[in-house]
Amino acid sequence: MGKTIAEKILGAHTKQGEASAGETIEASVDLLMVHEVLGSRIIPILDEMCVEEVWDPNRILVVNDHWAPAADIDSAEIHRRNRDFVRKHGIKHFCDVDCGICHQVLPEMGLVKPGDLVIGSDSHSTTYGAFNAFSTGLAATDSAIIIATGRCWFKVPYTIKITVEGTIPEWTMSKDLILKIISDLGSSYATYQSMEFHGSTIDRMSVGSRMTISNMTVEMGAKCSPMLVNNHVEAWMKERAPHIEWKPIIPDSDAEYVEEIEYDLVSDVLEPIVALPHSPENGRPIDEVDEIEVDQCFIGSCTNGRLEDLAIAAKLLKGKKIASNTRLIVTPASRETYLQALKAGYVEIFLEAGGIVTNSTCGACVGGHLGVLGKGEIAISSTNRNFRGRMGHLESEIYLASPATVAASAIKGKITDPRRI
């Protein structure tokens, strides 16, 4: 029987060189990404584990992104511990508070390539599936074991094959597609499984649009979500990691899938989707969503804070003012994205429109800082989770949408279809 992408990549990282769905295996990791959880939880665990040396300082990326720059004394202490750890162990890849959100900066630094096994101490580590990698999130204890040994145990996942054909219409985005898939399948549909993406829609997609999809598969419980290499990924690798050799991982034609799901965007035209509070699975076509007034419009995060996201928002906001009943907060996903947006004139457009542009951080998305919601406030947000209390007060509400829908909503001060601006 043939192998899926997940089976091939995990297999290539085992001693025996092979893995099949359902097995429990031990695999060597190519790269481990850790953020503030290093300072807050992992370092104390390493001390308890009597670990004094890291397995490979060249294969660890440390990022200070969630509360960047430090929002309070506790986060300052965590950042300080991370910096000390990086110095002490000679960690090669370090992004301090000026750098950006982990899932954006890791690919920007050329640290993921097709076929890699990448682990992050963050659930949205599924993002690197966009690069034909097996990537998944683990937490503090497993990260500590990887820091010590470079190895970890895994259950080899079964795979759901998702094929998407057709085009994404103007003013709709890959975010609308993934919100639609999550609303169709539900928030635990893919628990413990790999979601392997195929089809012409995914094949034509920019790297950023693909990352949005892989990023949010974890909202269905997916372990990983590898895609096939396309020419945008090839170009990305040439630019970001020109001296690194890689070859694409292609599933066998007789690979075994537990399920095959097809989306035909030709017959079923994609519309902007809005996920109602308090779950990403509550997606509805925007026509079915009331024009609710919003207190905060947020564009940013590892899901949708990339240049193409800021570009479409700027296109809508150019020469316009946001409504007086709302606020617009834009958080570019990385310093590089910020600089590109600055050069392209987007930052000026946002500021002229009455928006706020913050430094790059996970801040608002995790209810940390730079856009926390107060009691009873309603936000429309390009982020990934609208759980109760996620972005602030437990009586606040979050509607998830694409950056285009968020920008359109900022102009009108209420949830608005970007096709109507």
Binding site: E36, W67, S75, A139, T191
Partner: protein, 170 residues
């Protein structure tokens, strides 16, 4: 390997999709002291939980318990308030792993919520994979755990397991 003793305690019943933000909100994650953080355990779905939970109690929940963030703080605060086991109809992947890593059993039983009410006594025999609800005269048998998960749990968590496996002490 030392077999875990039988666990018996009062049930706290929760619904489906209790995500990690419901267990512990992001705003508390920078607290470095688990005791302080644990004062907010499950405060969104059940504000009274922290005041009334007792050492040895058991959580019983519906589908997709622990979905969302990878935060190990979620099972840690549950452990901190005295919960000794979590039974759910299903678990999110990272939470499931984290729970065993900190030495707490996560037991999957489809439809468990149909048979347990708040306050019911639940008896768990990990060795046999058996869960009993005496007041409902109901017994569930669960499939064996993967070997590595069993080893981690029976060693008392992944820290101890790792130290033994790599022969470390300090």
């Amino acid at each position: 390997m030392k077999p875990l003793e039988k666990i018996a305690g009062r049930a706290w019943v929760f619904g489906d999709n209790i995500n990690t933000d419901q267990i512990i909100q992001g705003q508390y994650l920078t607290l470095l002291d688990y005791k302080k953080m644990a004062e907010h355990t499950l405060e969104i779905p059940r504000p009274e939980f922290v005041d009334r939970v007792q050492e040895g109690d058991i959580i019983v929940a519906g589908d997709n318990f622990g979905s969302g963030s990878s935060r190990e703080e979620a099972p840690q605060v549950i452990k901190e308030v005295g919960i000794r086991a979590i039974i759910a109809e299903s678990f999110a992947r990272i939470f499931y792993r984290n729970t065993f890593n900190i030495g707490i059993p996560a037991i999957q039983i489809p439809s468990i919520c149909d048979y347990v009410d708040d306050g019911d006594r639940v008896v768990i025999d990990i060795e046999l994979g058996r869960v009993t609800i005496p007041s409902k005269q109901k017994t569930f048998e669960t499939p064996p755990l993967p070997e590595v998960v069993r080893e981690i749990l029976f060693t008392g968590g992944a820290v101890e397991w790792f130290r033994k496996r790599t022969d470390r002490s300090c």
